[in-house]
């Protein structure tokens, strides 16, 4: 192994030959990893490769079946989250650990409150919290309840929470997947600065450009074993992909020919929630992007269009009609479908089976004389699972799937309805490269077949390489519309920050 670089200090935290399985299925089969001070260590692997499981071992949330966790050179026994915290290990889980009703400050301090006479010392808490908030760029008042924040901001609170304890080891599991480019930038600076201060960082992401920009060392997991553990210096992205998936990298984005058809959506002066006075249009066969900083009313725009929140507009032409759908069912009848961003909360019934989740919107259509047609349902499940490459027993609960596969289920369940307008809210969040590629191809294929795909994304390259047109939102309004050819990362970011002019094409 390539362990000779300038960070060759003693490992703060390491795993040695750890094995871990669930219900007899081995997930990790003898994995080694060592986190050293001053180094940003990347952990790569496909969805379900075992990255989160390894983190859970390193942070004491799970115990290894075999092998050991080594802290400051000494193997630890009876490792628990509490012991890990005491040892200065902080984890930013993708799964947020926040409490909606409590304020930003109370959330950040949770589990480590400064005390005076046994009570929480709000003054000291405020000072400590202010310090970490400044680091991650949270400028909301500290008493704001976390429930009132959009997802991206919550993610920043989660990161601030990890920093609040002044950790020696910081583990970040896909921290940027719900962050806007701006926030991701703040985080990137922060990560480098922390490494400079001597922290050991472990960084998980499916975004290779981030890995390349931030990390100096990489461990790659495939099928539960380490396929690479080496310095990132001089490694090309393609080589990384090859190490991850075991074959040559393909292009991430498909090539396509624009083939816009008749208009499907035309809105003037559309308002819903935080979205105000939006003019919008889309045609059959298009992929229309929606960009901007996180929380500028994009989500409300999609939800209002979908009938999930109240909306109004001056002029509407939608799927042949002239009215907005008053409810989700009405929207479905018009041929609209919506894939929410927070799949666990808004899209999937986690405790129910994969099969149930896949068939949920189409069960009534498959029913025969009022009763469910089990044969037709399992036929449909088999077909969808094959089409999207969802492996394994569809009777398992969806929560047993890795994040990427969960996302596929959330998308796949709409396909049988053959929606004419597909609204997607950040569909590749937390999804590995291979799956992303599949999803991209699917979206373009759907468009080619005449669907209008509306793609809200926080991943700017997606907007650049996949869309025929991009609407950039700022403070609830459309700050800029970019046509294919003029869509660049700079143009999007510029419009998002209010730098560019109104129309760019």
């Amino acid at each position: 192994m390539d362990g000779t670089d300038r960070y060759d200090g003693p490992a703060l935290l390491a795993a040695r030959g750890v094995h871990r399985g669930f219900f007899g299925n081995p997930v990790l089969k003898g994995v080694d990893i060592a986190l050293r001070p001053g180094r940003v260590h990347a952990l790569l692997g496909e969805n379900g490769a075992g990255k989160s499981t390894l983190i859970n071992l390193l942070s004491g949330a799970l115990a290894p079946d075999q092998g050991e966790i080594v802290l400051d050179g000494r193997p630890v026994s009876g490792f628990s989250p509490g012991a890990a915290r005491k040892a200065g290990i902080a984890v930013v889980q993708q799964e947020l650990s926040l409490t909606a009703e409590l304020s930003i400050a109370e959330n950040i301090g949770l589990g480590a409150y400064p005390r005076r006479f046994g009570l929480v010392d709000y003054r000291a808490l405020g000072q400590g919290v202010e310090r970490v908030c400044r680091m991650v760029g949270i400028d909301e008042p500290l008493e704001t309840p976390v429930g009132a924040l959009p997802l991206g901001r919550r993610q920043m609170v989660e990161i601030a929470k990890a920093l609040f304890r002044r950790p020696r080891v910081l583990i970040l599991d896909e921290p940027t997947s719900s962050l806007s480019a701006h926030e991701a930038g703040i985080l990137a600076d922060l990560v480098l600065r922390l490494a400079g201060e001597g922290l050991a960082l472990l960084y998980i992401s499916h975004r290779l450009n981030e890995i390349m920009a931030l990390c100096s060392h990489v461990t790659i997991l495939r099928d539960g074993v380490v396929t690479a553990d080496r310095s990132l210096r001089g490694v090309a992205p393609d080589a990384l992909v090859k190490l991850m998936v075991g074959r040559e990298a393909e292009h991430l984005f498909p090539a396509w020919e624009p083939s816009p058809g008749e208009g499907l959506i035309r809105l003037e002066g559309f308002s819903a929630g935080a979205a105000r006075e939006v003019d919008f249009e889309g045609r059959r066969g298009e992929v229309v992007g929606i960009g901007g900083l996180v929380g500028q009313g994009q989500e409300d725009f999609l939800q209002g269009l979908y009938g999930a929140i109240p909306a109004r507009a001056r002029a509407v032409s939608l799927a042949g009609g002239t009215a907005l759908p008053g409810s989700v069912e009405a929207a479905n009848r018009l041929g609209l479908a919506y894939v929410p961003a927070d799949r666990k909360r808004e899209s999937l019934v986690l405790t129910h089976s994969i099969a149930t989740n896949l068939t949920l919107p189409s069960i009534p259509r498959l029913a025969r004389s009022g009763l469910r047609d089990r044969a037709a349902e399992s036929g449909l499940v088999a077909e969808l699972a094959r089409r999207l490459g969802i492996k394994g027993d569809p009777a398992r609960p969806v929560q047993a799937l890795s994040g990427g596969n969960q996302q596929k289920v959330a998308l796949a369940k709409w396909l049988p309805l053959q929606p004419s307008i597909l609204l997607l809210n950040d569909p590749t969040r937390g999804v590995d490269l291979d799956t992303k590629r599949e999803i991209y191809r699917m979206l373009r294929d759907l468009a080619a077949a005449g669907t209008l795909v509306v793609l809200l994304s926080s991943d700017t390259p997606e907007l650049v390489h996949l869309c025929d047109r991009v609407f950039v939102f700022r403070e609830g309004r459309v700050a800029g519309t970019l046509q294919r050819g003029a869509i660049t990362e700079e143009a999007i970011v510029g419009a998002a920050l209010g730098l560019a002019g109104k129309e760019a094409a």
Partner: protein, 315 residues
């Protein structure tokens, strides 16, 4: 999928509840004189039928993440109003039956409308409804027509076609219908999804509001049906006849392994749950002990049954 069916079946909580019923019945039949006789078991089944039918709607509501605290009041109102709603001119008594069920369903609809469209938490909506109905009872109860002369109701409360009490047969029919709805209709799939994740259900276009309306309507309907059965069994409705059925309907649902938080459960568990409650009550009744001790024994038995069947991982 097929290979793992047997262990999965055995792990089903409702089967466990059935096994518990069988165990309790065998134990009691062997140790207590008269307990195991067919006549007694038949009677216990008949009592369970009333709880089971009242709990049918409750099961649906709870699976979808709600709760209905008006069950007892609706039972009482139905039992008391049925004689007044039965025209003397109708020899079959079916008109009165239909009118009462329509009324009960209507009450349920109001519950559903409040819960779904006014967004009042179900517990508050149905509690307030129970309070309204108490007011209604003050007006109608004690009217001189409370004695039941409706032939259909009397038949329901006393006939034994095929040697089985009519109430038990009614319960079998209700059970079949409810099981069919939960496990074989699109509506059933929708209920479970709504209970497990209402946000996702809404965004998937499952019509959460409309489904709620129907659910509470169904709960009203089945409470009404239970009220009619009780009226037949007691020949007389009175204020308070439904009261004991509120907590028992909920207890039967939960003992049957349905999650009180919604999203998981089956009426197949409520059935033995109802029988278990009735059996436990009967057992406690025949034990000669002071009221305090009897209450303690009842609570301990429920707790023990709960510990044995050890269910629900959360909360």
């Amino acid at each position: 999928m097929t290979s793992s069916r047997l262990p999965r079946l055995i792990a089903q909580p409702w089967l466990l509840t059935f096994a518990l019923v069988a165990l309790v019945w065998c134990g009691a039949g062997l140790t207590l004189r008269g307990f195991g006789s067919w006549g007694h078991l038949r009677y216990l089944l008949e009592l369970s039928a009333a709880i089971g039918i009242a709990a049918a709607g409750q099961t649906l509501v709870v699976i979808a993440g709600g709760i209905d605290l008006s069950v007892g009041a609706v039972i009482t109102v139905s039992a008391i109003l049925l004689p007044m709603l039965s025209p003397a001119a109708d020899p079959t008594g079916l008109v009165g039956l239909g009118a009462t069920l329509a009324l009960a369903t209507g009450i349920g609809c109001l519950n559903g409308a409040g819960a779904a469209y006014l967004r009042v938490p179900p517990i508050i909506m149905t509690l307030a409804m129970a309070t309204f109905l108490q007011g209604l009872l003050i007006i109608v109860a004690g009217g001189s027509a409370v004695s039941v002369s409706n032939p259909a109701v009397i038949w329901l409360g006393s006939a034994r076609p095929l040697g089985l009490p009519a109430g038990v047969i009614l319960w079998v029919i209700v059970s079949a219908a409810i099981l069919l709805v939960i496990h074989r209709t699109p509506f059933g799939a929708r209920l479970l999804a709504i209970g497990a994740n209402p946000v996702a259900a809404k965004l998937t276009g499952l019509g959460v509001e409309r489904a709620s309306l129907r659910l509470y309507a169904a709960s009203g309907f089945f409470s009404g049906l239970a009220g009619i059965l009780l009226l037949g069994m007691n020949r007389q409705g009175y204020a308070g006849i439904g009261e004991p059925y509120l907590l028992t309907s909920i207890a039967a649902v939960v003992l049957g392994g349905t999650s009180i938080l919604g999203g998981r459960g089956t009426y197949a568990g409520t059935i033995p749950g109802a029988i278990l409650l009735v059996t436990t009550t009967a057992l406690i009744t025949v034990v000669n002990a002071s009221p305090g001790w009897r209450s303690i024994m009842f609570g301990s038995l429920i707790l023990a049954l709960l510990l044995i069947s050890g269910r629900e991982a959360r909360r």
